[in-house]
């Protein structure tokens, strides 16, 4: 007990025994000493849920606890159609109740602290869980200070809508209420950020809505970049579909430096833009807990072993999904998080069995909708070769294609969504 830190002391005197330190709060959740391995998963999104499931599928003797703050999950992928008014938010909503069937202990709580030495996490509800391996999948957090005036409070008037939920609906309301002739302003973030084609899918679907309901309005994208994902496909489609979208890249003054939520305006170095409908997607970093646990490097994201997704900062902690730095090529997408989760799960189970690190296979497929009947995609397969992630195949949809081809991809977008969500929540 001599190495008990002050922090732990406070916890103990507060009557909150850290599991594994004194007497475990959850006796069944023992550690290696009791022969049963325990994995704690922090975050119940595209990465965390799949990691929890695949660990249980690969080795049912492992105890898995998933800690997720929210009781309901709203998917970001396919939430842009909600903003454009052709999709019900209910279709985006899923619950965690089926995970118990897979032997996953789901705790609706928030992890506030990770102790990588004691191998335990503590939560907002003052619970404590010890782990043999920890999976951290917190997604992204916003850099509230990066654009002057764009605070969490300001986002209640000028939503980001970059975590699906009430903000998605607020964006839809603002779009519906805006005056015909006013611009719809989207502020796009610098790389890296969650869902690289997302802002441009949103711009497309807003333009689709405007074309029908407010034909005198246009979308203005103020961008902190000078290029973006699937760009030739998006730009080609905007022309083909007759969308009124003005894209202002950083080298033409697109970088927004200041936001004023009271006057509903955004400022670049050259110009002020005003509208009743503004969407600011702020610059991003790894989720809060990754920072609190010191899992990030100077980029604000978490460096990991590319073969296993184990943190290169702390042993026995695996960081997957948007929060980690996979190779620059693997995007921060839902499908990539799903793929990374399966790789980390296999690595964790192999480590428990004393087996060598499994050879990973990484895949991403990502669809974007430009109208209800117009879809485009990007796909890639990577392998681990010569100690690095190497792309084996991939690419985007062809720039020239028939309307039937685009319609097929729009339908596959829906099918993609159903498959990946059912894999998580059934």
């Amino acid at each position: 007990m001599y190495n008990l830190t002050r922090r732990h002391f406070v916890k103990l005197t507060g009557g909150l025994a850290a599991a594994g330190l004194v007497s475990p709060m959850f006796p069944t959740l023992g550690r290696a000493s009791q022969g049963k391995k325990h994995v704690v998963v922090v975050g119940g999104g595209y990465g965390g849920v799949i990691a929890a499931k695949y660990i249980r599928m690969a080795d049912p003797s492992v105890t898995v606890t998933l800690i997720e703050k929210e009781k309901l999950y709203y998917s970001c992928p396919l939430s842009n159609p909600v903003i454009a008014g052709f999709r019900d938010m209910k279709v985006q909503r899923w619950g965690y109740e089926n995970l118990a069937k897979h032997g996953i202990n789901v705790q609706h709580d928030e992890v506030v602290e990770i102790d990588p030495v004691k191998r335990s996490v503590s939560t907002a509800k003052s619970a404590s869980f010890s782990y043999d391996k920890l999976v951290v999948a917190p997604g992204v957090d916003f850099k509230w200070d990066a654009i002057e005036g764009y605070t969490e409070k300001a986002s209640e008037k000028i939503p980001h809508g970059w975590k699906a939920g009430p903000q998605t609906l607020l964006l839809h309301e603002q779009l519906s209420a805006m005056k015909d002739g006013d611009p719809y302003i989207i502020v796009a973030p610098p790389m890296p950020f969650r869902c690289p084609p997302g802002p441009y899918e949103r711009a497309s679907l807003v333009a689709w809505y405007l074309k029908q309901h407010k034909p005198r309005s246009k979308v203005i994208i103020l961008d902190a970049k000078d290029k973006f994902a699937k760009q030739p496909l998006f730009v080609g489609a905007w022309k083909e579909l007759g969308y009124n979208i003005e894209w202002v890249p950083v080298n033409e003054g697109g970088k927004v430096t200041r936001v004023n939520a009271d006057s509903m305006s955004v400022h670049t170095e050259m110009q002020e833009y005003k509208s009743s409908a503004i969407n600011v997607i702020p610059p991003q970093k790894a989720g809060k807990i990754a920072h609190a646990a010191g899992l990030v490097d100077k980029t604000g994201w978490c460096p990991v072993n590319q073969k296993t997704f184990e943190s290169t900062v702390h042993k026995d902690i695996y960081v997957i999904g948007d929060a980690c730095i996979a190779t620059a090529e693997i995007p921060k997408s839902g499908f990539a998080a799903n793929s990374e989760a399966k790789i980390a799960a296999a690595a964790i189970v192999a480590a428990f069995k004393g087996e060598p690190e499994p050879d990973p296979s990484y895949v991403n497929t990502c669809y974007s909708l430009l109208s209800p009947d117009y879809g485009i995609s990007v796909a890639a397969v990577w392998a681990f070769k010569d100690n690095a992630v190497a792309k084996v195949s991939g690419g985007v949809s062809p720039e020239k294609a028939t309307p039937a081809f685009r319609k097929q991809e729009a339908s596959y977008a829906e099918s993609w969504y159903q498959s990946i969500m059912v894999e998580m929540f059934s």
Binding site: S361, S415, S419
Partner: protein, 201 residues
């Protein structure tokens, strides 16, 4: 040097008898590591919740291998599968085909958006028209042999997309027997047949 040689020999022998360290059946990712990535689109265990990406669980090994190989070589037109299949070697495609052939066909519930539903009148009409089809796609499309895929209970929109592929592209790869039937039947009749097979359980 002696040790080194010995190790190389042992490793080489390991590869020949089909696996390093005796664990996976081949070097590189295991069949399940490769195949698990398919679930994100084709559903958990290859059973798709629809509405248009097909269920691949329990499809014949030869069929799966042929499709993947044709996608890989660029012989089979596709929206996305060509881009994906090029990511795998012949050995990996073989492993993936074996993996899904070994899984059980099923119907995945829980999807919150339903696909296009089967029209009973069209299905009835399709049943009468499907007599020729059932020479290969036997037992209402349930039976699968070496390279005949299951049609019974497959997603309607997938079958419709395939019919469109067959009818609009002269060069779309298909067996001769299949092509002769496809050429004989109208799009409308084929659509009725799709409703019939999609409606089988």
């Amino acid at each position: 040097m002696h040790d080194m040689k010995r190790r190389t020999l042992v490793l080489a022998a390991g590869v020949v008898v089909g696996g390093l360290w005796g664990a996976p059946a081949m070097a590189g990712p295991t069949p399940s590591m490769l195949s698990n990535t398919c679930a994100g689109c084709h559903g958990p265990q290859g059973v798709a919740p629809g509405p248009s990406i097909p269920t691949i669980a329990g499809m014949p090994y030869n069929f799966l291998k042929l499709m993947m190989t044709e996608y890989m070589k660029g012989d089979r037109p596709s929206t996305i599968m060509g881009r994906v299949a090029k990511g795998y070697s012949d050995v990996e495609i073989d492993a993936i085909a074996k993996h899904f052939a070994g899984l059980k066909w099923g119907v995945q519930g829980g999807a919150s958006v339903k696909g296009k539903s089967v029209d009973p009148a069209k299905a009835e009409k399709g049943k009468a028209l499907a007599k020729e089809c059932e020479k290969c796609h036997e037992e209402g499309g349930k039976k699968q042999d070496e390279d005949t895929p299951r049609l019974a209970g497959q997603w309607l929109e997938y079958l419709q997309v395939k019919i469109d592929d067959y009818k609009t592209n002269e060069k779309y790869p298909q067996p001769k027997k299949m092509k002769s039937q496809m050429d004989k039947l109208s799009v409308e009749d084929l659509d009725a047949i799709a409703h019939y097979f999609a409606g089988q359980k």
